[in-house]
């Protein structure tokens, strides 16, 4: 019978050895199965907003899947494996149909690659892709969605590179070329309006050409406004339908209201803009009668009497109004259209999405969680507890029982000590963590000039002293809960649900939460803080910031902050804050130092962090700070209505960012963005090598270069004041953890419009260079940094020199 036992042992050993042999064999097949079905499925993935991923933060992933099988629907699962996290979503696609779905993934810490797979119901992968994130994820293309253009008038620009760059400096790579390609898609207006906001997630530019614009409902308008506010570009080119467009609800967005349309043959301004002649005698329908214009409308081409192209900023996005129909036969073959579209779109598209303007959720989560109840028992106490327990249950227990000669009581004394210490530990928890339920909430509000809605993002931390289910009701019908809450904030995101309104199918593509009741439900663990995070829109009753005086030294803002009226007066670097009493007198309630508008991301966050903490701990009426193109203040009153099932000690505040309009008599504060073009390292990813590209946002880069590594940045400036000087600054630090005896040294090459400057063998951690405005006349400054030693680039900044210094 010993053979039976030996057989058991042998079976296990054989079992394990087979596994090891398979591992050593290493030639296991790695391929997608079910190829027959995969032929029917086409999937494209875009990582990051607009295709640019911000490593080190939360990023959207837009997935487009098309079922090319005309008779069989597809049901399956999207799976994204990113570092240690796996994100899963079920998809159902009708025969011959396609879906666009979006989920959010955490790229903090930056993963090297992301695996995307689409599984069928048998769990087999029909689509497999791997995306390398050693550099920024590149957008696949710029997607232009054209509404109701049955003639396909824009098809001629498909495949054209759109972003203008200095080719001599930045040689095109395949990826870069792909990043600048326009792809045009067409959609009937009715289908767009029925599809909803989520349909617009991968769209960069939305062109309204024709259609029954009266169908646009107030709900459609809300998400079109959201699209523009978040950085999207809306172009209208209605021609003969321009008056109808102006009568629709879309008029809220337009730079100019058109009252009629008439034939015109004077297109000199358009020809100049498009840099191509228009044959004389060509007649096209032109929308005219624009006496009513938005406050920030800007004429691009045409004249006051014949306005052809107008533009306005709308939040972080743009609305471009072309008062002539580009698809009309008389203008369709005009060669200047390509140039026109490039010029119209390259600026707005380079400005980036609004997500770059928002605070990092991780930063806010940290601040909100800074409560005494979230602190654990001190480490020394925990260590002492463990030590005393082991000594008591082991040696002391044994010695005592041995002396009393009753060692068999060991089986009783051990459980008694175990239970006693367990009860003591739980009691210790109650003493240190308390019995209160705590809610801390911050509304981050962005108000833009001349826009009736403000974008609001709410972060809520809730902490309960007892476990159980909790339901958070959000009193904002526009609230859009993130499809997956950042795992860096909580590992229990699986408990998030979005409850659709009656009749709404949550799993269907193209839906957005405009439910009357939006809620988050989750299982709460004892003494565990959780973060909820959602976005929505509120009426901008904060008013609009206006310049009261255009003097150089004194700037005055009028902020009709509801429910109190506040006047904020800036004199030099001191700001006086007050509110109007019933007699109309300004009553000062505080004096605050302005944080200089350097645009330095770290300092900005630090300042905001300070404000938030100060506001929550010792609430004043209002706190404010000024940055170069915005004004920020904090109110200690909640904006979002949050209802919960339990009683909470509440601590709520609102952080308002007023994006300022252009100062009268100036071309406005430039919007400056940093983008990484190329990161070249022969050593990146190799063991022990520090080279790495970790991401960038606005003006803050985080790139570590080893010797001979090169990184190319582009700073985009919009608008450019060519009469002004600009201050270029770069902060570089030695990469201490990998520092060797090699000298700290790097080279910088600046390149712009007929401008080329090489700064070789730089040994300073901070480098400043004055650049004339005409050197960046085309809105871009190329920065190439080559390391001679291991360095980390922490900040790259371009700021206009003040008029006095100028």
């Amino acid at each position: 019978m010993s053979r039976i036992g030996s057989a058991w042992a042998t079976a296990v050993i054989v079992f394990a050895v087979l596994g090891l042999l398979s591992t050593l064999y290493g030639a296991l097949p790695v391929h997608a199965q079910d190829a027959g079905q995969s032929k029917d499925i086409d999937a494209a993935v875009e990582i990051g907003a607009g295709g640019t991923a911000h490593l080190g933060s939360i990023n959207p992933v837009t997935i487009r899947i098309r079922n090319e099988n005309e008779s069989v629907p597809f049901h399956g699962t999207v799976r994204i494996v990113c570092g240690k996290m796996t994100y899963v979503r079920n998809v159902s696609i009708s025969a011959g149909d396609s879906v666009i779905t979006e989920l959010y993934i955490d790229l903090d810490p930056p993963p090297n690659e992301i695996h995307f797979s689409l599984l069928n119901t048998q769990g087999k992968a029909v689509v497999l892709n791997k995306y390398s994130l050693s550099t920024a994820a590149r957008p696949e293309d710029t997607l232009v969605l054209v509404v109701d253009d049955t003639l396909g008038g824009l098809s001629y620009i498909e495949g054209e590179p759109i972003l203008t760059r200095n080719r001599s400096l930045f040689e095109w790579t395949h990826d870069e070329l792909r990043s600048g390609i326009i792809r045009v898609a067409y959609i009937p207006l009715a289908r767009l309006l029925d599809s909803g906001a989520q349909f617009l997630a991968p769209v960069d530019v939305l062109v309204f050409h024709s259609g029954d614009f009266s169908r646009i409902s107030s709900e459609n308008l809300a998400w079109l406004q959201a699209f523009a506010m978040k950085g999207g570009v809306i172009v209208t080119s209605a021609g003969i339908d321009a008056p109808k467009l102006s009568q629709s609800l879309l008029r809220e967005l337009l730079p100019m209201k058109v009252t009629s349309s008439e034939p015109a043959n004077e297109f000199t301004e358009l020809a100049r803009f498009g840099e191509a002649a228009i044959a004389p005698g060509r007649t096209a329908i032109l929308g005219v009668g624009g006496s009513e214009r938005a406050g920030n409308a800007r004429m691009i081409a045409g004249s006051v009497t014949v306005p052809i192209i107008l533009e306005r900023e709308y939040g972080m996005g743009h609305v471009i109004q072309i008062n002539v129909d580009y698809a009309q036969p008389s203008l369709r073959g005009w060669p200047g259209w390509k140039r026109t579209w490039k010029k119209l779109l390259s600026g707005p598209l380079s400005s980036g999405p609004v997500s770059g303007e928002m605070l990092h959720p991780g930063q806010i989560a940290k601040i909100l969680q800074e409560i005494p109840q979230a602190e654990p028992v001190p480490l020394r106490l925990a260590a002492l507890f463990i030590l005393v327990y082991i000594v008591l249950v082991g040696p002391v227990n044994y010695v005592l029982l041995s002396r009393s000669k009753r060692r068999t009581l060991l089986w009783v004394s051990i459980p008694v000590v175990v239970i006693a210490f367990s009860v003591f530990a739980v009691a210790l928890g109650y003493l240190s963590r308390g019995t209160q339920n705590i809610l801390r909430s911050l509304d981050e509000v962005h108000c833009f000039p001349d826009i009736p809605y403000a974008l609001v993002r709410n972060y809520t931390m809730y902490f309960t002293s007892a476990s159980g289910n909790e339901k958070l009701l959000i009193d904002n019908g526009t609230a859009e809960i993130r499809s997956s809450v950042p795992p860096s904030l909580t590992s229990r995101y699986r408990y998030y649900y979005r409850y659709p309104s009656p009749g709404e199918d949550d799993s269907a593509p193209g839906t957005i939460t405009y439910a009357p009741e939006v809620s988050i439900r989750r299982r709460m663990n004892k003494w565990t803080p959780y973060i909820a995070w959602f976005e929505g829109f509120v009426p901008s009753d904060f008013g609009t910031a206006r310049w009261k005086e255009d003097s150089q030294s004194v700037v005055e803002y009028e902020l009709p902050v509801s429910p109190m009226d506040a006047w904020l007066i800036s004199e030099g670097k001191e700001m006086r804050l007050g509110r109007i009493d019933p007699e109309g007198e300004v009553e000062a309630v505080g004096s605050y130092r302005i944080v200089p508008g350097t645009g330095d991301r770290d300092r900005t966050i630090a300042a905001r962090r300070f404000d938030i903490i100060k506001c929550m701990q010792d609430p004043p009426e209002i706190l404010g700070s000024e940055f170069n193109d915005r004004f920020m203040f904090i109110m200690n009153r909640p904006l979002s209505g949050l209802k919960l099932g339990r009683r909470y000690v509440r601590d709520q505040a609102t952080l308002v960012t007023m994006h300022l309009p252009s100062r009268p008599g100036t071309s406005g504060q430039p919007r400056i963005r940093l983008r990484v073009e190329d990161f070249h390292s022969d050593k990146a990813g190799k063991p022990g090598n520090p080279s790495g590209y970790y991401g960038y946002r606005d003006d803050t880069a985080l790139v570590t270069l080893a010797s001979e590594d090169t990184v190319d940045f582009v700073l985009t400036v919009s608008p450019v004041d060519v009469q002004r000087n600009y201050n270029f600054q770069i902060q570089v630090s030695p990469a201490s953890s990998w520092q060797t005896s090699e000298p700290f040294q790097y080279d910088v090459v600046l390149s712009g419009n007929n401008y080329h400057q090489t700064l070789g063998d730089v040994k300073d951690e901070s480098l400043t260079e004055i650049i004339q405005g005409n050197a960046i006349a085309d809105g871009e400054l190329g920065v190439t940094i080559t390391a001679d030693s291991t360095i980390t680039i922490t900040s790259i900044n371009l700021s206009p020199v003040s008029q006095k210094q100028n």
């Binding site: 019978m1 010993s2 036992g5 042992a9 296990v12 050993i13 079992f15 394990a16 050895v17 596994g19 090891l20 398979s22 591992t23 296991l28 097949p29 790695v30 796996t86 797979s117 599984l119 048998q122 769990g123 087999k124 992968a125 940290k366 969680q369 602190e375 654990p376 028992v377 480490l379 925990a382 260590a383 030590l387 082991i390 249950v393 082991g394 040696p395 227990n397 044994y398 060692r407 068999t408 060991l410 089986w411 051990i414 459980p415 175990v418 239970i419 367990s422 530990a425 739980v426 210790l428 928890g429 963590r433 476990s467 590992s491 699986r494 299982r523 663990n525 004892k526 003494w527 565990t528």
Partner: protein, 285 residues
């Protein structure tokens, strides 16, 4: 029968209480858990200081670390205690005396197993203050820990039954211990390999052999059951690897299925051990 088994257990307990080894093993096990806990707390407090982690994250990490340490120690001690249960009788030349008693084969085997198992359960129970400490940090629920402890219990039964089988079929303690550790190492590595191979099938192809081996490995290795408790999102992933698992796990959590499977395997091993012991008594071996 229960009375006779109890008598064996009491006899074993009295014997164990007399020596220093019982308290020595307990102190050693708690010392290892304490060391792991302290390291987790040390790094966790540093992470809390720097803002990278919350107290609840540290609490969860502490609980997970204690669970994994207990799991490993349970497997090691469970196999070695039971692996030497019968061979020690041989080494001390007391097996003939044992055979002369009126105790049945099953009573001897189950009695031996129970006494070892209860001691291992006591070792597990001694870890309770560590869980209580991690509970004060937040981050986990009582139900999760109870499920994890149930997984550990099923492992105790599995390794005890397997250890006894090895003990019955080995000539002496040295051979028995060698076999138990071979089983432990190769079993752990093999099940981990096949299990992970099956779970990653979405990213690569897999053949029928790997699928069957992977299926058994998922159910046999308690690490996967523990994983499915601590990271419930993985449950659907595990279930999707097999249509049988998909059907079964529709009603039961994966860790319950794994525990049932392990109990069945344990029953087979115990019955085999009883038959082997019968042969020894009959002088066949």
């Amino acid at each position: 029968m229960i009375g006779r088994i109890t008598a064996i257990v009491i006899k074993e307990f009295r014997q164990k209480a007399r020596g220093l080894s019982t308290i020595g093993v307990l102190t050693f096990v708690l010392g290892v858990i304490a060391l792991v806990s302290y390291l987790i707390l040390l790094s966790g407090y540093a992470q809390i200081e720097s803002g990278f982690q919350k107290a609840s994250d540290v609490g969860r990490n502490l609980a997970v670390a204690v669970l994994i340490t207990q799991l490993i120690l349970t497997a090691v001690f469970g196999l070695s205690f039971n692996g030497s249960a019968i061979t020690q009788e041989r080494d001390r030349e007391t097996i003939d005396l044992l055979n002369l008693t009126l105790l049945g084969n099953a009573e001897i085997i189950i009695g031996k197993m129970m006494s070892s198992m209860l001691y291992i359960i006591l070792l597990l129970f001694a870890g309770l203050p560590f869980f209580a400490l991690s509970y004060t940090f937040g981050g986990w629920e009582l139900s999760e820990i109870l499920a994890a402890i149930a997984v550990e219990f099923s492992l105790v039964i599995l390794v005890s039954s397997y250890g006894l089988l090895i003990s019955v079929t080995s000539k002496d303690t040295r051979v028995a211990l060698g076999r138990t550790f071979a089983v432990l190492i190769f079993g752990a590595v093999g099940t981990l390999y096949f299990g992970i191979r099956l779970l990653s099938q979405s990213l690569s192809g897999i053949d029928a052999f790997h699928k069957i081996m992977g299926f058994i490995s998922l159910l046999l290795n308690p690490g996967f059951a523990l994983w499915s408790i601590l990271f419930p999102d993985i449950q659907s992933h595990i279930s999707s690897t097999s249509s049988a698992l998909t059907t079964l796990s529709a009603n039961l959590p994966f860790w319950v299925l794994a525990a049932i499977f392990q109990l069945l395997v344990s029953m087979l091993a115990i019955s085999a051990a009883i038959r082997c012991y019968k042969m020894i008594r009959q002088g066949v071996r």
